[in-house]
């Protein structure tokens, strides 16, 4: 499904609507309630208020909004249904997807820490244990390597587990199982056993969570043969990717982002999935291809507004599938714009961007008018201090500068 930005006029309308709603007082007093959809516009404006535990300073709260805003067309229009759709937050979309799949197939089960009675540390599994029972939504002891391995053993013997890492960083403890068994078992068994497992959890840099809770493991898992990796960024694709991942016969790692759980969007009522291997066109354009995923999509869209005001026409693609890359969508874009900027939250060294540069150079070198630019996070452990954390990740201003440089 493509999200179409309505063009320059809408951009102007959007920025004015944003300034209307930049009410930090309102923001602070109701931290958990997202802002209402702007009526009368031809597209839905989605706002995020970041984490549930918010920084109480007003000015910073304002920045929180501006850093995470998203624009998306009315996705009900993109689908051919006449149903109105329903609004929900990203974590609810994940929960809805998970619940629907658990109803659809009794073999789908959830395993993880605090997924059952607690409802999940980010509430993605809220209510599921009550509905499906303690065995289908299994609260595990704190033993990531072993319960991930247990999920793999269950997958081999006929179940379809969804393993939750409370924070993606914790999955480092499960690396043995993810690399050796999850990725490789189908191969080393000569195709006899399938591992239809989904491993999911929140990652990425949050709000001053400290170095170990702010990790981006996409790059670590990238090289494991036999797994697929996807990153969700909107409620629509979160639900769609969750469902597709559960239905897939391959092991899939679904990367969610800590700061995106409260994004609100209107999604279709009917059943849908998002293709695991496809990228998402966020904003078609002519001048430059910006490839991004997860939270950086919002920084890119923020920068896109500025760029549009300055007369640029960026094409923004959310690659969604981190492994394998959708070289068709990406390639078509490169062939059109001839300039590529990659904006990612991954570390610079050995990150998704590095692989993407290699893939694009290999396949589309003739179409490039300029070297590919890649903006990644700094190769540092994420600092606690807010000011330092801010410059660890790519900010919209840097994206604007990069595009200007690229388009000279």
């Amino acid at each position: 499904m493509a999200a179409i930005f309505q063009g320059v006029g809408a951009a102007a309308a959007l920025s004015s609507s944003l300034s209307n709603s930049f009410d930090s007082k309102k923001f602070v007093s109701s931290p958990c309630r997202p802002f209402s959809v702007r009526k009368g516009a031809s597209f839905a404006v989605v706002r995020s208020d970041g984490r549930v535990n918010l920084n109480p300073k007003g000015r910073r709260a304002q920045q929180l909004i501006s850093n995470a805003v998203a624009t998306k067309s009315d996705s009900a229009a993109a689908s051919s249904s006449s149903k109105p759709g329903h609004e929900l937050l990203l974590f609810e979309a994940l929960q809805e997807g998970l619940e629907e799949e658990m109803e659809r197939d009794i073999r789908v089960c959830v395993m993880g820490e605090d997924v059952g009675h607690y409802g999940g540390s980010y509430k993605v599994t809220k209510g599921l244990a009550k509905k499906f029972g303690d065995l289908r939504v299994l609260d595990t002891p704190i033993a990531e390597n072993s319960f991930t391995g247990m999920g793999i053993g269950a997958a081999m013997t006929g179940l379809r587990p969804v393993v939750e890492g409370m924070n993606m960083g914790f999955l480092l403890l499960a690396f043995n199982q993810i690399s050796n068994n999850c990725g490789m078992l189908h191969y080393t068994s000569g195709g006899q056993f399938t591992i239809p497992i989904v491993i999911r959890g929140p990652g990425g840099v949050g709000r001053q969570l400290g170095a170990e809770h702010s990790q981006r493991l996409e790059s670590y898992f990238q090289s494991i043969p036999g797994i697929q990796m996807v990153a969700c960024s909107t409620p629509y694709n979160a639900k769609g990717l969750m469902k597709a991942a559960i239905r897939s016969e391959n092991p899939v790692i679904l990367f969610e982002h800590v700061l995106l759980y409260n994004l609100k969007e209107r999604i279709p009522d009917e059943d849908y999935i998002c293709n695991l291997e496809e990228a998402e066109m966020v904003r078609p354009g002519e001048h430059v291809t910006i490839l991004t995923y997860s939270r950086m999509r919002y920084h890119v869209m923020q920068a896109a507004k500025t760029l549009v005001n300055k007369g640029y026409d960026p094409e923004v693609i959310d690659i969604r599938s981190l492994k394998p890359f959708d070289l068709y969508t990406i390639g078509n874009s490169v062939k059109k714009t001839h300039r590529v900027l990659i904006v990612e939250e991954c570390m610079r060294t050995g990150g998704i961007g590095a692989s993407l540069i290699a893939a694009i150079t290999e396949n589309f070198n003739d179409y490039l008018d300029a070297p590919i630019m890649c903006l990644s996070s700094q190769d540092v452990p994420t600092p606690y201090a807010g000011t330092l954390e801010e410059v660890t990740v790519v900010q919209p201003a840097q994206i604007v500068t990069a595009v200007e440089q690229l388009c000279q």
Binding site: L159, N181, S189, N250, S355
Partner: protein
């Protein structure tokens, strides 16, 4: 047991003749444990092993031909030649591997046991009493995954039996030098399950203990930890010069060879005659010879097999620049795997 011994001896021969390569870990001396336990299982029960898995595979019912072919790296091997000595799998016989890293199979076994419980309680297959056996060694018992799984299995009363094949040596590391409390069976009660020690060189004693443990699991009473005192007559692998172990120790256990012991028992109790036993020996030799012949004559995998089985759903290789899924391209298997 005879099959296990003859097979492993043949493996050694084949290895030194250059028919199989890599790390090959032979089971000579430990046959009583495999036979004692696995011969009590049904086909739907699962077995998880380590790299020392040839005999577990044979005991579970994987044909000797399939195992030998796998060792030779031929397409007719149980894993199409893609697994090798340390990764024996069989869906048909519910052999869930074959793992190279010690300890990483135990969570997989726990998962299989979890499925059994799930089938009974969620899928309402009331008669599902499938049991899983996890085999591993003394070295593994100092590994975190062992303890984590003991905890989870006892917590949820999973139908699993943890079988420790304590052969006193982890390559060159003596169990006594590596373990603060070397009595492994005592670690079971710490997690709330019975811990049993048995003479692993006596197949009948092993079988008695196994009956109890497997019965417990089938009735839903939970896991058991069984420590089998056993010994490997050969080195850790065919690459191990085996210089550290005391010849006196080796002689002590050689005298307790499970096969010799059982033969003696059968003859003394008139359960079989010398002629019967010789006939078995001969038959097994034929089986093993046939397995070698079959493996020799089997084809090696062609290059096109390289990319098969990486993904259960080959769409996982992604969409190529031309818009088609790479796996739809007929030339795909002749190319290289990249995303």
């Amino acid at each position: 047991m005879i099959l296990g011994r003859a097979f492993e001896d043949m493996c050694a021969q084949m290895y030194y003749r250059g028919k199989m390569f890599g790390f090959v870990h032979l089971y000579n001396g430990q046959e009583a444990v495999s036979t004692g336990f696995i011969k009590l299982l049904k086909q739907q029960d699962s077995v998880v092993s380590t790299y020392r898995d040839h005999v577990h595979a044979l005991s579970k019912g994987v044909p000797a031909r399939a195992v030998m072919s796998e060792l030779f790296g031929k397409t007719t091997g149980c894993c199409r030649g893609q697994g090798g000595s340390m990764h024996m799998f069989s869906r048909e016989h519910n052999l869930l591997g074959g793992f190279a890293f010690i300890g990483e199979g135990i969570p997989v076994a726990t998962g299989a046991a979890f499925t059994s419980k799930y089938k009974r309680e969620v899928l309402k297959e009331a008669d599902c009493d499938h049991v899983t056996l996890a085999f591993f060694g003394d070295g593994t018992c100092n590994n975190g995954q062992f303890f984590e799984c003991l905890n989870m299995a006892a917590l949820w009363k999973l139908p699993i039996v943890f079988v420790v094949e304590n052969n006193l040596w982890a390559i060159g590391m003596s169990h006594l030098r590596a373990t603060s409390d070397p009595q492994i069976y005592k670690k079971g009660p710490a997690f709330g399950m019975p811990g049993i020690h048995v003479d692993g060189m006596d197949v009948l004693k092993v079988r008695e203990v196994a009956k109890d443990a497997i019965g417990r699991a089938r009735r839903g009473e939970g896991p058991t930890l069984v420590e089998c005192e056993t010994y490997r007559f050969r080195g850790h692998s065919l690459a191990d010069p085996d210089e550290l172990r005391d010849p006196a120790e080796k002689a002590h256990y050689a005298a307790r060879d499970p096969i010799t012991a059982l033969k003696k028992y059968l003859i003394e109790n008139s359960l079989a005659s010398e002629a019967d036993l010789k006939a078995i020996d001969k038959k097994i030799d034929e089986v093993v010879e046939d397995a070698v012949e079959f493996a020799d004559e089997s084809p090696v995998p062609s290059q096109s097999q390289l990319l098969e089985n990486v993904f259960a759903d080959p769409k996982g290789f992604g969409i190529g620049p031309d818009g088609r899924y790479r796996c739809e391209d007929p030339k795909f298997t002749e190319g290289t795997a990249h995303v």
